[in-house]
């Protein structure tokens, strides 16, 4: 009993304006976009950890994590690395140019499960982009969560994304910021080494009371999870967000399939418990 | 023009490939004329050595995209002779249909898009379209139709692999044939309008000189584009297997294409040779067209080759209808199989621009020798001769305006497909 005329086309891209953009570091750019239709822009909401499909007509469409928090509505923020045809085209766009988006897609982080808990955010490199969303969500709803630890490892101080923002966070008392770089440069006084080296700075925690969220390059997960398990954090309280090739965002095209799950609808956030069942996951 | 001047026309615009004409003039006298073929050597006859006929059939059409199906057809005729393959009537007719497609495609491209702009004084067909929009539109449609025939019979537009030893990989259904028949009939009026247009043109005479014409004589009473007998305008006939004694070849340093001669003199092949040698076999509208256009000057003036192409377009459209009508009566043919693995054969086909000969020697299923003589290789010496004549007559009349363009027109009239001139002699295999 489907009348196509009245069915929404889930693949329909909607126009959005690039409100502002600037380079984070070389080949990494920050975009603020807003639906052209103002009422749509104001009603648009999402969960931290969700993503958008972004199109440039004639070039194509790809998924991008939302880096802003729904607690600050009206503007969608994306952090994008220039890696190919679509991002090349996107980087040529100027302020006020139009791109096309649809979404939000994916499950997002399990906020309900995280409420009342201590939050441990572990980001590696580009992985900080989706985690920035949950980071600010927690900060904006500070009373709903316990202690907040934010670990971020970058290759070098120069390659830290959102460096100014994140350095300012260190001045807040309601968050513990731990940063590390693989290679220090002059003036860097923080930790040097991979992100797992930061775990030694964690105070004693009650593992049952902690929710960890992890995102980073594929090689990072194994090592970080080992540390989290050492802390005895329950497997279903470890969440990670994954990247996969996607062509639809709504569980049809098949590309992001992991076992019987689709990264686009059952993910991109999975718990470590999930990955034990689906060995291909990480 | 008192001191030595060298006129170079390079590249030869709108000639497919890499031709260049070099004319050396000293004290108002033509010293030297060279049509240079500087496209690199490809050594096709060595490429097929040790290969199966199936591979030969895939490799040799790559000599020239424009007449790729002529090469395929000639190779099929040569290889089938060598291997004792006799194709049924329907297969032969499908091949004729295919060949009509290529003939129409090539002639329409050359006549409407390359030659007519010259006659009418335009840079290209797009410029010509402003005043002759109707002609260009219809010509485009005709060419498209011809491409369709090539695509259906060849398998794709260029280098289709549908024609195979003994038959075809895939044949069109009756519905498709009917459609092609209707379309062919539909283009006849336009082809006849073209005859009217040509009849109204003035054809310059600055290059005129006597020459001889060679073509293949069809194995039936009618006009046609293949055969096993070489027919010369002097009335002589030769078995195509003896082609080496009829057409002598030589190598020149300014050309990777070899040069053929008949009785030690340059000669002309192509549409004009066919219409002159076989024109009295034409019937119907094609006969009307031929009678309307042909005159004594054709024997001296290569520009009439374009007129001959127009006559052949009419013939091809009419003959396609005949071929399809017969095919609709016949069952789909079986693929004919080789009866031997060792043998020798020369396949003769009239490519759009003239006689194309493919000679193969097969031993135990593998190619031990091959010789391919392309039409361009046959007429290049004659092109040089006509260019020399044109230069001399223009110089003597002191007509130096558009000198290069007028020489180019002469070369272009031959419809030289330069890429197909990369050609070789027989390689004797030890």
């Amino acid at each position: 009993m489907i009348a196509t005329e009245s069915v929404e086309n889930p693949f329909q891209p909607e126009p959005a304006r690039i409100v502002r953009q600037y380079d984070l570091i070389k080949d990494h750019r920050f975009f603020q976009i807003r639906h052209l239709d103002m009422s749509r822009a104001m009603s648009f909401t999402y969960n931290p950890g969700q993503f958008l499909m972004l199109s440039i007509p004639g070039v194509g469409e790809a998924p991008f994590s939302i880096s802003s928090t729904p607690s600050r509505p009206g503007i969608i923020e994306l952090g994008i690395r220039r890696t190919g045809r679509l991002t090349d085209a996107l980087f040529r766009k100027r302020d006020n140019d139009i791109v096309f988006i649809r979404g939000p897609y994916g499950n997002g982080f399990k906020i309900d499960q995280m409420r009342g808990k201590d939050i441990l955010i572990v980001a590696g490199g580009l992985g900080v982009i989706p985690l920035r969303s949950i980071l600010y969500y927690v900060l904006d709803n500070r009373d709903q969560f316990g202690r907040l630890y934010f670990m971020y490892g970058a290759r070098s101080p120069e390659e830290m994304l959102f460096k100014t923002e994140f350095f300012q966070l260190r001045e807040r008392e309601d968050i513990e910021c731990l940063y590390t770089v693989d290679r220090a440069s002059e003036g860097w006084t923080g930790e040097v080494g991979v992100v797992t080296k930061l775990f030694k700075y964690l105070p004693d925690i009650d593992p049952e009371g902690v929710n960890a969220v992890v995102c980073g390059p594929p090689v990072m997960y194994k090592f970080v999870i080992k540390e989290l398990l050492k802390l005895k954090i329950p497997k279903n309280q470890i969440q990670m967000t994954l990247e996969r090739r996607m062509k639809c965002g709504v569980g049809k095209c098949g590309h992001c399939v992991l076992d019987h799950l689709y990264t686009c609808i059952d993910g991109p956030v999975f718990t470590y418990w999930d990955t034990l069942h689906f060995r291909e996951l990480i | 023009m008192s001191k030595t001047e060298r006129i170079e026309i390079e590249p030869l615009a709108r000639v497919e490939g890499h031709g260049g004409i070099r004319v050396e003039i000293k004290d108002n006298k033509v010293q030297n004329v060279e049509v240079r073929i500087l496209e690199g050597p490809r050594l096709f006859e060595t490429l097929v050595l040790g290969k199966t006929p199936e591979e030969d059939l895939s490799i040799v059409p790559r000599i020239c995209a424009i007449c790729n199906l002529s090469h395929k057809f000639a190779a099929l005729r040569g290889l089938e002779k060598a291997l004792g393959v006799t194709v049924p009537e329907a297969t032969q007719l499908y091949r004729e249909l295919m060949h009509h497609g290529e003939m129409l495609e090539s002639h329409s491209l050359h006549l409407y898009f390359l030659a007519l702009p010259d006659f009418l004084g335009y840079d290209n067909a797009i410029a010509m379209a402003e005043k002759y929009g109707d002609v260009v539109t219809k010509a485009l449609a005709l060419k498209k139709f011809a491409n369709k025939v090539m695509r259906i019979m060849g398998g794709r537009m260029i280098h289709g692999e549908n024609p195979i030893l003994g038959g075809f990989g895939r044949l069109p259904d009756h519905r498709t044939l009917q459609q092609l028949r209707e379309e062919a009939e539909g283009f006849l009026p336009f082809a006849m309008e073209t005859i009217d247009l040509l009849a109204s043109l003035e054809v310059p005479d600055y290059m005129e000189r006597e020459t001889r014409f060679l073509c293949l004589k069809p194995p039936h009473d009618g006009y046609g584009y293949y055969g096993d007998i070489l027919l010369a305008s002097d009335g002589k006939e030769y078995d195509v297997e003896d082609y080496k004694s009829v057409i002598s070849e030589r190598v020149v340093g300014h050309s990777f294409a070899k040069r053929g001669r008949y009785q030690d003199r340059p000669f002309t092949v192509g549409a004009i040779a066919r219409v002159l040698n076989l024109g009295d076999r034409l019937t119907g509208k094609a006969r009307e067209a031929r009678d309307r256009l042909v005159n004594e000057r054709w024997y001296r003036n290569p520009l009439y080759n374009n007129f001959a192409q127009a006559v052949e377009m009419v013939f091809s459209l009419e003959d396609m209808v005949r071929v399809i009508d017969r095919l609709l009566e016949l069952d789909q043919p079986e693929i004919a199989r080789p009866t031997r693995e060792t043998g020798v054969g020369t396949g003769g086909v009239e490519a759009p621009r003239g006689i194309l000969l493919h000679h193969y020697e097969i031993e135990n299923g593998l190619t031990v020798s091959a010789d391919i003589i392309t039409p361009t290789a046959m007429f290049l010496d004659d092109v040089e001769a006509f260019i020399r004549r044109a230069s001399e007559s223009l110089l003597s009349k002191n007509e130096l305006d558009n000198f290069e363009l007028r020489l180019e027109m002469v070369a272009r009239a031959f419809d030289p497909c330069i890429s197909c001139s990369t050609h070789l002699v027989t390689v004797e295999f030890e």
Binding site: V7, P13, A62, K247, G254, E280 | -
Partner: protein, 368 residues
């Protein structure tokens, strides 16, 4: 063909999945063979008729020029009926500077004649993917616009649909013809099917006798005895799970040509790629196309920046078989394999559900 139980318990009606209407009870009718052609020819008023016909030597779903062209009752088409619902290539949108406009023009009213039970099952499997919210409007429209006329078949050389439970069908058709030789039993599966019957009511007889039922049961028995291939599907999920690290994957990967034929011919494979094609024009206009894709191809899991989650051939093979034999079942409670045997016929190097299933048991990659 419909489940035997339905013959007697006609109070439980199959849900008419995608037709507009509801039939309170299953009607089972009889038809004499002499009426069959006229009946099929009468269906064109419900839409353009598609059926298995031979084109260039290959059986394919296409529009028959004549009734005689239709091939029914056994041989499979090489490409399954999914191509009529999930087209190999189509335009999803036209775009220009002002945005994307959906293109639904590829759909038309159709009557698909001769769909075997396994392929009806395959459509129900595809429904699980495409009709799940959010509904794929392209697929949904093709589904809504198509009537399914099922037709019974006898197993071919490589059929093993008894093992996958797809040799019988309870839903997903408008009419279903069981060919018993001397007559047809015709199940009416939807109100549209009922409307079709009404056009030539005189062809049908609604008094199915006890004797007819006995003939049907005998035919079922005979058919059940004809299967030459089978495999134990129920143990597959566990076996797949246990074999995740098995060396057989590497063994099959050495042999696999990654040609993707298995996925193209598989009635339940639904993967696609989306590509924007610009017009040759200075304006930014063009179309967004959808094409069949395959998880056997190297770029299937390749993301921008060059990371390939399934660069190794073994990973790609494992994904497909895991998906067919375990993962889909965990999600939807039934295998994604419908036992048609197309992969058995299509693979030039004998990698298919049967050889893989066997290797999972023997831990040996069978010789070719």
């Amino acid at each position: 063909m419909p489940h035997q139980l339905r013959l007697i318990r006609n109070d439980v009606a199959p849900a008419p999945t995608f037709q507009t209407g509801w039939v309170p009870t299953v009607r089972i009718l009889k038809m004499e063979p002499k009426y069959f052609q006229a009946f099929i020819e009468s269906l064109d008023k419900f839409g353009r008729v598609y059926a298995p016909v031979r084109r260039n030597g290959v059986l394919t779903w296409d529009t028959p020029e004549r009734f005689e062209e239709i091939v029914l009752g056994g041989e499979h088409t090489m490409i399954p009926v999914k191509k009529l619902f999930h087209p190999m290539r189509f335009d999803m949108f036209r775009f220009d500077d002002s945005g994307f406009t959906p293109d639904y023009s590829s759909s038309e009213k159709r009557v698909i004649v001769g769909v075997p039970p396994c392929e009806i099952h395959s459509l129900l499997r595809l429904d699980e993917v495409f009709m799940e919210r959010p509904v794929d409007p392209y697929y949904a429209q093709q589904r809504r616009d198509s009537a399914i006329i099922g037709y019974s078949c006898l197993p071919g050389e490589n059929c093993f649909c008894r093992s996958t439970g797809t040799d019988i069908v309870e839903e997903g058709f408008d009419l279903f013809f069981v060919n018993l030789g001397e007559f047809y039993l015709v199940w009416v599966g939807s109100s549209l099917g009922h409307d079709m019957v009404l056009v030539h009511e005189d062809f049908f007889d609604d008094s199915v006798s006890h004797d007819d039922i006995k003939k049907y049961i005998a035919w079922r028995k005979k058919r059940d005895g004809m299967f030459k291939k089978s495999f134990d599907f129920r143990s597959m999920p566990d076996l797949m799970e246990l074999s995740y690290e098995s060396p057989i994957w590497e063994g099959f990967a050495e042999r696999c040509l990654s040609c993707g034929q298995c996925t193209m011919v598989c009635p339940t494979c639904n993967c696609y790629n989306v590509v924007d094609v610009l017009d040759i024009s200075s304006a930014t206009s063009g179309r967004r196309e959808r094409h069949w894709d395959s998880c056997m191809f190297v770029d299937y899991s390749l993301v921008a920046g060059g990371h390939n989650f399934r660069g190794a051939r073994a990973e790609r093979l494992k994904l497909w078989y895991t998906h067919k034999l375990r993962a889909y079942a965990s999600e939807y409670g039934k295998p994604a394999c419908i036992g048609c045997g197309r992969c058995v016929e299509a693979c030039p190097v004998d990698i298919n559900v049967l050889t893989v299933a066997e290797a999972l048991v023997t831990m040996e990659v069978p010789a070719r």
